[in-house]
């Protein structure tokens, strides 16, 4: 123990952070007169309790993965894409519409719906990308506003397409990501093949960033766009490209909801929140593809498992939200714990 390697620290930091978060959460439960042990048992069972819970947890992770990738990708090019929420909503709509309006063989229909979602998200990312590149309008402002445009445009489209109703018809079976097999495997959960799409995109992001010339340029612009320009790269082109790819990831996140979880789209009173959580997912994962898997898994598990706390332990939704927020808060504060651990090590080594 007296020679703590860096590897050891890397493993210890998230574990200690999660533990601290749970500890403070336990205090909150004690203060509000609930038994923390039953509470956490319920959380555990909600995430891993049986095959149904595991299926639902994985289902919940898929859109977080893609939302996290979207934010992380833009970040690597030095862009803060707050518009993942809006890009996800238009992607959701595009996938739901294609799934509903066309009747094609599955081998064409499903990819078509996915591509439509990615294209819609990309389009929503293109606008702030162009504005940033040509007019230097800050992408944060534009993307935030694009979120509202997405929400209300999609609501209006749903209303028009459904003849005054509030939801689109269900997608055709041929566009669905759901499968009898996965559903039976997990005791009727809504687990769908989307998780494979999401994981494939993790690989795609890694490949683009690490293995292609484009990726190198994107990262260069992120590090220092002046230097990148000086080296002969087009900062503007790369900014637009980064926003488009980021938007495409987000759009696919919407497709997870459209083609997997819900199978259609209802008009929304407010944002889904997945896109905003994607920012935290990306930051927790240090904007790397592997890190996003970690962040999305944490977010998805907590988000889904938390549902079981009111169900099994009778803890009110509000308290549950506080506990989950605390855990995420402490994980995000991992840096402090890392510094503490390194100090501890140095002290020991000095002795």
């Amino acid at each position: 123990m007296n020679s703590m390697s860096n590897r050891m620290i890397n493993i210890l930091v998230p574990m200690i952070s999660i533990f601290l978060g749970l500890l403070v959460g336990a205090i909150v439960m004690l203060i509000s007169d609930y038994n923390p042990i039953t509470g956490y048992m319920a959380l555990w069972n909600g995430i891993f309790g049986d095959s149904y819970a595991i299926g639902e947890t994985i289902r919940q992770i898929s859109p977080y993965l893609l939302a996290g990738l979207a934010v992380a990708f833009a970040f690597r090019t030095g862009l803060f894409n707050i518009g993942v929420e809006g890009q996800l909503i238009v992607g959701w709509f595009a996938a739901a519409y294609v799934g509903m309006a066309f009747d094609l063989p599955k081998i064409i229909h499903l990819p078509f719906a996915l591509i439509a979602a990615a294209a819609a998200g990309a389009l929503w990312g293109l606008v702030p990308g162009i504005l940033k590149a040509t007019l230097k309008v800050h992408e944060v402002i534009v993307t935030i506003m694009m979120n509202y445009i997405a929400l209300h445009v999609v609501n209006a489209l749903i209303k028009t397409l459904s003849g005054g109703g509030f939801k689109l018809e269900r997608i055709h079976e041929s566009a669905s990501l759901r499968s009898e097999f996965l559903s039976n495997l997990t005791d009727y959960s809504t687990l769908h093949y989307g998780i494979f799409v999401a994981l494939a995109m993790v690989v795609v992001m890694w490949f683009i960033l690490e293995k292609t010339k484009t990726g190198f340029e994107l990262k260069s612009v992120g590090y220092n766009d002046n230097a990148a320009s000086y080296a002969g790269m087009s900062a503007n082109k790369n900014i637009i490209l980064a926003m488009v790819i980021s938007g495409a990831f987000a759009g696919l996140g919407g497709a997870m909801e459209a083609l997997g979880t819900f199978g259609n789209m209802s008009s929304m009173g407010g944002f889904t929140g997945i896109g905003f959580d994607g920012i935290a997912v990306a930051l927790l994962g240090a904007n790397t593809p592997l890190g996003v898997i970690f962040g999305a898994t944490l977010f998805g598990s907590l988000k889904y498992g938390a549902n079981n706390m009111p169900n099994e332990a009778g803890i009110p939704v509000e308290i549950v939200s506080i506990i989950i927020a605390l855990v995420i808060f402490f994980v995000a504060c991992g840096y402090i714990i890392r510094v503490g651990l390194i100090r501890l090590r140095n002290k020991k080594e000095a002795k």
Binding site: N45, G49, Y52, G165, F262, S266, G269, V317, S321
Partner: protein
């Protein structure tokens, strides 16, 4: 490893419980038995639960009314809150609907309510999977043998609210604030417009949808605009958004005690919401007795007559709708007129349209 085994054992027990309970609910004789509280998978007995929409059971409106029905029914039977008695789960978003419904079905509740039309798809899915559990959807229609659909003729209640508003307005301007624009809320609006027209055809109703049920600030802003434009009575059908309408009206009343501003509440009796000191801005409330419908279905189900696959429509006749006690805000002669209209609706003399006539 032991944890995993424990999880597996738990799921086996639960699965066995589901099957046992299924056998139990097929047997109609056990309806009157007291359930074993706190014990899942116990056969026999009857228990009910509900899944709320995002509003939660204290939304002072729709979900609250449904919970009131579930709770009262449970208490009348001497049950306790929890598995085997009565319970609820709150949804924080549409992604929770299926999970919550499924969780309750797994806890072997015999009858599970989904509150709100947004839950239609979720109920359809879960009802197909959990064939031995009875479901009931409020404000929506699902065609499945183990689902009873509950609808209300909101237009009839809206009509009475419209008559009240039409007779009570001094400025000849009244307003309607809806939550989300959907078929249910449109029935409120259609009835209201028709009711106003019946007593004062020349009045134009200022009708507006704010787009959400949980945005009090939007309701307040919209109410502010309406009151400023001379509207003196606003009927809201907007759930939590409507609380903003009340706060705007109350502020105006507080600033000027003689201000003639009124709100007509919705779903539950919202008299308490309208209190400002000794005054009150609640003219009356259009009651939508979700609790009556909930208890009615629970009663039928417990006695083995569950109306699965059917749609029950509650109207004025069935006490499913009505106006709340105005506590003196509406004078007796106006009340008498409202009663006349109510009778005409009940005996079919007036047929209230479900849809708003489309503006050209």
């Amino acid at each position: 490893m032991t944890k995993r085994k424990f999880g597996l054992a738990m799921s086996l027990v639960l699965a066995a419980g589901t099957m046992l309970a299924a056998c139990g609910s097929d047997n109609k004789d056990n309806a009157g038995e007291k359930p074993a509280t706190g014990d899942s998978g116990e056969k026999g007995g009857f228990s009910l639960a509900m899944v709320t929409d995002v509003g939660g059971i204290d939304d002072k409106s729709f979900n609250q009314s449904a919970w009131k029905g579930v709770k009262e029914f449970g208490e009348d039977q001497g049950w306790e809150k929890g598995t085997g008695g009565y319970d609820y789960l709150q949804s924080t978003g549409p992604e929770d609907y299926t999970t919550n419904l499924n969780n309750l079905a797994r806890r072997d509740f015999n009858l599970i309510y989904g509150v709100g039309f947004l839950m239609e798809d979720a109920i359809e899915d879960i009802a197909a999977q959990q064939k031995d559990t009875q479901f009931s959807i409020i404000d929506g229609e699902v065609d499945a043998p183990n689902v009873a659909s509950i609808l209300f003729k909101e237009q009839e209640g809206g009509y009475l609210a419209g008559v009240a508003a039409g007779l009570m307005t001094k400025s000849d301007k009244v307003g309607f604030i809806g939550g989300m624009d959907n078929p249910v809320i449109e029935r409120f609006e259609a009835g209201f417009l028709e009711g106003v027209k019946a007593v004062k055809p020349e009045i134009k109703v200022d009708s507006k949808y704010v787009g959400a049920f949980d945005k009090a600030e939007l309701g307040k802003a919209e109410a502010g605009r309406m009151y400023s434009s001379g509207v003196d009575i606003i009927f809201h059908a907007a759930g939590g958004t409507g609380n903003g309408v009340f706060s705007e009206a109350k502020e105006r009343k507080q600033a000027d005690k003689d201000a003639y501003v009124w709100v007509i509440g919705v779903d539950s009796d919202q008299y308490e919401e309208g209190k400002v000191g000794d005054d009150n801005v609640t003219l009356t409330s259009m009651l939508k007795r979700v609790d009556v419908a909930v208890k009615d279905i629970a009663d039928l189900s417990m006695n083995g007559n569950f109306p699965g696959g059917e749609t029950k429509v509650y109207g004025l006749q069935d006490d499913g709708l009505g106006l709340a006690d105005s506590r003196g805000a509406i004078p007796q002669d106006v009340l008498d007129q409202i009663d006349e209209y109510a009778q005409k609706i009940a005996n079919g003399e007036i047929e209230v349209p479900e849809f708003v006539e489309k503006k050209k």
